[in-house]
Symmetry: C3
Subunit: 260 residues, 3 copies
Amino acid sequence: MRHSQEVARDDVAQAAAALLDRLRARSPRVHCITNAVAQNFTANALLAVACVPSMTLSPEEIAPFVARSHALLVNLGTFDRERREATEIAVATASQHNVPWVLDPVFVDRAPPRAAFARDLVARAPKVVRLNHAEFFALAGAKPTREALVAYARDKKITIGLSGETDLVTDGERVATIANGHPLMAKVTAMGCAASALIAACLGVEQDAWRATAAALVMIGVAGELAATQAEGPGSFAVAIIDALHNLDGPTLIAHARVN
Amino acid sequence: MRHSQEVARDDVAQAAAALLDRLRARSPRVHCITNAVAQNFTANALLAVACVPSMTLSPEEIAPFVARSHALLVNLGTFDRERREATEIAVATASQHNVPWVLDPVFVDRAPPRAAFARDLVARAPKVVRLNHAEFFALAGAKPTREALVAYARDKKITIGLSGETDLVTDGERVATIANGHPLMAKVTAMGCAASALIAACLGVEQDAWRATAAALVMIGVAGELAATQAEGPGSFAVAIIDALHNLDGPTLIAHARVN
Amino acid sequence: MRHSQEVARDDVAQAAAALLDRLRARSPRVHCITNAVAQNFTANALLAVACVPSMTLSPEEIAPFVARSHALLVNLGTFDRERREATEIAVATASQHNVPWVLDPVFVDRAPPRAAFARDLVARAPKVVRLNHAEFFALAGAKPTREALVAYARDKKITIGLSGETDLVTDGERVATIANGHPLMAKVTAMGCAASALIAACLGVEQDAWRATAAALVMIGVAGELAATQAEGPGSFAVAIIDALHNLDGPTLIAHARVN
């Protein structure tokens, strides 16, 4: 048990270091359908790890943007007709061009139509769904126990990235828990959206969705810990985490990763 | 005269301290219809005082979001069809579920259709209207003298929060003037929008709209003064005021409040 | 040759200093049709040099906003129906009221419909088009050599502001190259959009579009260099450049301008 945990830890930490290098070497294009609250912070988080974000929602042009991207993020925050239409086109284009995509079903626990739409999307083969406890409960109708998460991931053939005090990543077979992060992350809007965008970025350079998801959550968790040492509150923390993502390197990730 | 002023000062300063504690204890949900320029900063200002912001505009889901919120903000900046439609639904829902709401008639002095819409909204029983001098003139057709403000508030049965070098808060009976704040607050976009969001937050934990409005303006004014001591310009000021809101406490509010 | 370069350098540096003073003295109103990612940062950049930004897209009210503005920015990022409709009205209003406008054809290299729309707009007499190398290639169908840029500007009767490691500004007759700036500027979203907004601001106080464009690019380039000395990454850089714009003065611009 001890031994297999250490393997998981090393595997995920090494993956995080390797994928960070790959992001910087390849600068993947990541198209984001995301809420207006999160667009600026998400774009800056992606730029900080050398990615090229784009954010258009126009039905006339989202297909070429997605087709030429290395990954797609579909975030349901501030969910409106325009984003729903954009999502339909983007997901169809991603499927046609084998562009991996991440679903972030923000606030599905707050409005039933959003939860219904999210369930439809889960059936359309996202590689990853990243969400918090309340969102999983609303989406899956079950408490987010380890068993329920593994069963849901296996049943839907997706990777689940559950955010919380400890993050959990499972593809229905493998499970990693990640203890990195800092309480100030919950005090800055769009932090979860940025985490989902980083998962999309990692999917742009890594086919194994479980590794990509765990690596991305280690990156943002470690960046959050480093940022907290510089911050005097959530305002300066939001600035410092962008700096920290930009300044991250593999050895720092490996030294700070807390994975089981 | 001296005596009654001191009562007002102490009453408002104590209210600010008490409401700050109540925000942190209850974490009210505040739904915001606000302009795209302001969404991120407004969300972070609300998070800094432990509130839960939401921002969706979708006509299908704004009703359940508002019905489950403790307060609603209607901000008319970047005013478009989507936000107008969202506002109609949100205000009707707020009325039905007794959710208190704040109107921020941004830039009604710049476009006649916006002023007409704002006048309609004033008739639909917001608890508070927060605006600046030019906006009051466009809305009410009168200069914002103390007498005109008191008369307007009494006539419309609302609380007015007038922003300026000195803020004035009146419900048509009571008047408080608040001298807190800093000139850099006028150099950061969405600062007024964030002030209105804090008023909404306070309305979520305090039924007396005059007290809630004066308390919120003291909070953001004191936070601005503290932030200015850390800032080297409007960029770092915008960051520092979020930190300051997060780090505020009752004794600091009481020590710094400049209310008459 | 040496001599004429020095004249150009002094002319542009002096123009930058003079226009910065004029911005602060006149506080021009700048209406911005820009992408949601860029709205907040653009508004804060304009406020930092004493301008009054507005951002509404509503077809009912954009005409009065533009008619009462001193300059207009049309940025095609996150290009959607709403912004296309707003652009049609805004450009017609600008033409009718002699409001100078700037076109920023963001990402025209990524989607054909956007490039076609941008070409139509170039024919509708913007004073300035600001873009990067890939965008010029998509728009003009030619590599952005000095000769191609001069020919395009002369042919279209516009000023071109090409961003890159060295910026180039030409109206088809005069050419200035500006070496100011810092690599971190490419790591912050909306930096180019903010540059275009500053060009619009300068057009609001200077009829000579070539001078206005070169001056604006010197301002943001010098601000970027000053910000980089304070920054620990792109997060703190984005904050510091707003502070730097706010704290800029003429002598600093003249001392730091690197123009040929």
